[in-house]
Symmetry: C2
Subunit: 181 residues, 2 copies
């Protein structure tokens, strides 16, 4: 009974194609048949591999989180930035960049889904924040002590960007002058 020989045919490759499709077309309207076509298979096979759409989405989100992690690591070297403002500026430039923005977009979908109580989204979103925090801590002038606040600020900026208020977002770090706290 040696049945554990070939369990995963190429699931990883499949996931990469699926992620590609979702990054381009969004997570909400991702239905089996279009995704299957994008991955070069049939809906029939997707369900065969993953067991159902929910499971597929869960694995896909997990994959996206990892992919996002390596993208982050590759984008900015591990070295401390002088000030929080400079760090926010750099990170925002990355998140808005043509290459990375698809991830930002699907990230916001994950957040919305999590808020609606979808557990897979909540799980993946939670992990992504952890990844991000760790990543930030290595570059933040205050290390892991400063990362949470900075991340929160960045997320707020992404929200502003999404609804066409990038200028509001920029106001939060360009003006370093005194703010009564």
């Amino acid at each position: 009974m040696k049945k554990m020989t070939k369990k995963k045919p190429d699931k990883q490759a499949l996931l990469t194609d699926l992620a590609q499709h979702v990054l381009k077309h969004g997570l909400n309207n991702a239905s089996l048949r279009p995704m299957a076509k994008a991955a070069g298979t049939s809906d029939r096979m997707l369900i065969y591999y993953f067991g159902g759409k929910d499971a597929l989405i869960a694995e896909l989100l997990e994959h996206l989180a990892s992919q996002m992690a390596v993208g982050l690591d590759r984008a900015l070297p591990i070295e401390r930035v002088e000030t929080e403002d400079a760090l926010v500026m750099k990170v925002l430039a990355l998140m808005r960049s043509k290459d990375f923005y698809p991830y930002t977009r699907v990230w916001l979908e994950i957040v919305a889904g999590a808020a609606q109580g979808m557990s897979a989204h909540r799980l993946a979103g939670n992990r992504i924040v952890l990844i991000f925090l760790e990543w930030l801590a290595l570059r933040h002038p205050d290390g892991e002590r400063g990362a949470p606040r900075t991340l929160t600020l960045i997320e707020g900026c992404l929200v502003m960007d999404a609804v066409g208020h990038s200028s509001v977002a920029d106001l939060t770090y360009q003006t370093t002058q005194s703010v009564s706290r």
Copy 2:
């Protein structure tokens, strides 16, 4: 030819019921037939009144924005709060409250939709931010100069909340001590 007598039968009342349904069940999965049932009509009539689903959603988002505005005004009196941190704390408590959270939830859906390029969502989201900024400026210790940064911070906190990282959100204002900027 006096045809302009009864143009809007009760559209406003309809919108209120529709909004109620969306606040409870989410914006993404809002399809005509369930919404119609929630509003006491038929999908047939919804399309007759609004012209189509897209137009309905657009009007609905507009309605939600207004409803949100009055909700905000009613929740906190117009008086300046001592510090930014205290203000953030108060606003967050509101956004997380049982009564208001449905709005927060659909707000995140609007943001995600806007990021996906849905114009109605972008429009409504943009307006909501303006409403929020104005509302904040009247309560912020620094007035309209401090509102943008505070709003961005709050939005970031909402994102953290959504994915189960409220503690990260709270770290951003509970610790008022020095942060190198």
